[in-house]
Symmetry: C2
Subunit: 426 residues, 2 copies
Amino acid sequence: MKKYESLSKPELETLLNELEASYKTAQKKGLKLDMSRGKPAPEQLDLSNGLLNINIDDSYISKDGLDCRNYGGLTGIPEAKLLFAELFCVPVENTIINGNSSLNVMYDMISRGVTHGVMGSTPWCRLEKVKFLCPAPGYDRHFKITEHFGIEMITIPMTETGPDMDAVEKYVNGDKEVKGIWCVPKYSNPQGISYSDETVRRFANLRPAAKDFRIYWDNAYIVHHFDDNNQDEILDLFNECNKAGNPDLALMFSSFSKISFSGAGISATSASKANLDFIQNSMQIQTIGPDKLNMLRHVHFFKNLDGIKAHMQKHAAIIKPKFEIVLTKLAEEIGGLGIGEWLNPKGGYFVSFAAMPGTAKTIISLCKEAGVTMTEAGATYPYGIDPNDSNIRIAPSFPTVAELNQAMDLFILCVKLAGVRKLLQG
Amino acid sequence: MKKYESLSKPELETLLNELEASYKTAQKKGLKLDMSRGKPAPEQLDLSNGLLNINIDDSYISKDGLDCRNYGGLTGIPEAKLLFAELFCVPVENTIINGNSSLNVMYDMISRGVTHGVMGSTPWCRLEKVKFLCPAPGYDRHFKITEHFGIEMITIPMTETGPDMDAVEKYVNGDKEVKGIWCVPKYSNPQGISYSDETVRRFANLRPAAKDFRIYWDNAYIVHHFDDNNQDEILDLFNECNKAGNPDLALMFSSFSKISFSGAGISATSASKANLDFIQNSMQIQTIGPDKLNMLRHVHFFKNLDGIKAHMQKHAAIIKPKFEIVLTKLAEEIGGLGIGEWLNPKGGYFVSFAAMPGTAKTIISLCKEAGVTMTEAGATYPYGIDPNDSNIRIAPSFPTVAELNQAMDLFILCVKLAGVRKLLQG
């Protein structure tokens, strides 16, 4: 296909007329589709329906003898810790189990930093300024947390091997106001990038200027590949930090939100004993304990890591064809036109589309006016501002295959339309 | 019975010898009993075992059409709101449903005050000093929260009609550093006192010096009476605040922790729309939503307020005989001796014992050394310091009847022994 930028003005004008006509036709279809959030589809949730009728009325005592119906068990039950420890490849004693939302656990971690510092450091609310590094495009809800607490966010460019580590090292090792970095190390949100071994090692070997700097490592997609025979493996940060003599550097989060139920899973935190002791010091004030019955349900349903892996194959069977639709349509319709770029992720929940600079807002607005909701433009950048107005997060999981086909056709039309308009504006 | 203080020195010494001998015998029994926490007994938890095998695999869609397995529903599902609204006598639109721990919700509320203030006020972390009023004896975990955030706690004496309202009005209306007061208005922890109508009205008519002052109203024992025909009724604070033109004054909390499962219930916050809007502004950053499946389970199991009331009668049938043991033994063994006072609560989870001043620590230590764990002395006061060293919280719910008989016999022995020792010391 011919690149749009190589077309003459008359060619572009002819194309514009065709695209405007197609768009008017599309608008009349009255679509009402949502590709804005990384929500599992109902068929994916059905895979875990066994959790809805599981009977634990003769097995509510945990392995350590706790009545899971009653108070107690601040850090979760041993059998759930074991399940997560296997998933994380972290020693079981370095794992605590939390409630249904790992986002909430991360929010609490930041909130605690603001009010109490980290492991004895000055509470961040008493400091002039606190900064966080935000690899972007990234997860909007991470950025919203740091924004909510008035933390200054510094954008770190993403590369195909993870965050730009030269920039990360410069800031972390040189600026004691930098207290953390948000990371989604595997099948990153939204690009689906998995950090290279070198990236993980450079993380583990940081020499932070701030002693309370931590890597906020959100392993949301740890087993979320599309194909067992073609998956990314990332180095174990916990292990690498220990090797580097930096045992307290990493705070690692994970959850079952995209394994069992998004609204009713369990989540976990893994970190060094010193970090966990500090965290528990607040947790014991905050709650008498998490919902241990839901932990039991998960342990009974999934049993072990093999159970989780087998379950994730079923997720992949549903989600892989949807990604194929997105990637095939993009390749066939946009490839070679010079109006957009994307990566082909092996897992995760998103395709990240880099539109021609200055067109993302227009594309999303055009989609919206024809009935397809995309993630807000800029959402993947700190403060919701994409300096290039280029990145668009495509979330293919929730719509049906038929809906996705319609939505992608419209999306592609809008990308082309916005591209031609932009070129004609010069 | 003759008051100990009217005994002669030789009489006291004879008594001391008898009590020391009895104590030595008791120590040999090798008891291992715990009366320290307000935990429901296993038989109480059994009442809700229906929640352990309830089947919701064909009914996971909420009344407002939400798939409860998926993300979303930040403030809970309508049917759970209705259940709590009935319980609270608060409009359903003024209620949001939270996770398994109302303590966590209260912790979050204080934490949010520290980082963000309340409804636009200056964040408390930016103020020189923040104070909370703590009616005492009170709930140790409330006091631990305010202590954790470095908030200065001011003890307010409890009376038989609730906190000393003269003191409350003086502080709240006169000192803008006073940002809140902890209240357990019905069957208070630990005394079992229910606030009088006048007390509630005086609360509703406060004119706080600080616009971000709130009443933190922990209605933990709202339906937790021992006898349907002999229960306390308290005025509805929400309604009274509205009548007084103070709609934003109250933040009300409740939970199913002592209705269904202590570790796996649901909880709720009720407040004015302005307060809830402010709270949700943070909540939407904090989490994508609570566990809605557990809300569904509760709605299916309890159905409505009548269902809850019928269920609570079964709790009462188990818990009432235990309170009778405590109160009967105290009356028969300590009554008239002048070495301790207590109230006879009509509900709740505790009996509060006021030992002879200066003896509480000794009594608890004596109990401990003979195998019975009581709540730590001083726990019911801010900073864990009871200025009179007098208050002891008795939690009769968890032990069996047989255990409770043994534990109370030992407790009474220790009260007598500590009393006689004290009198002999002069």
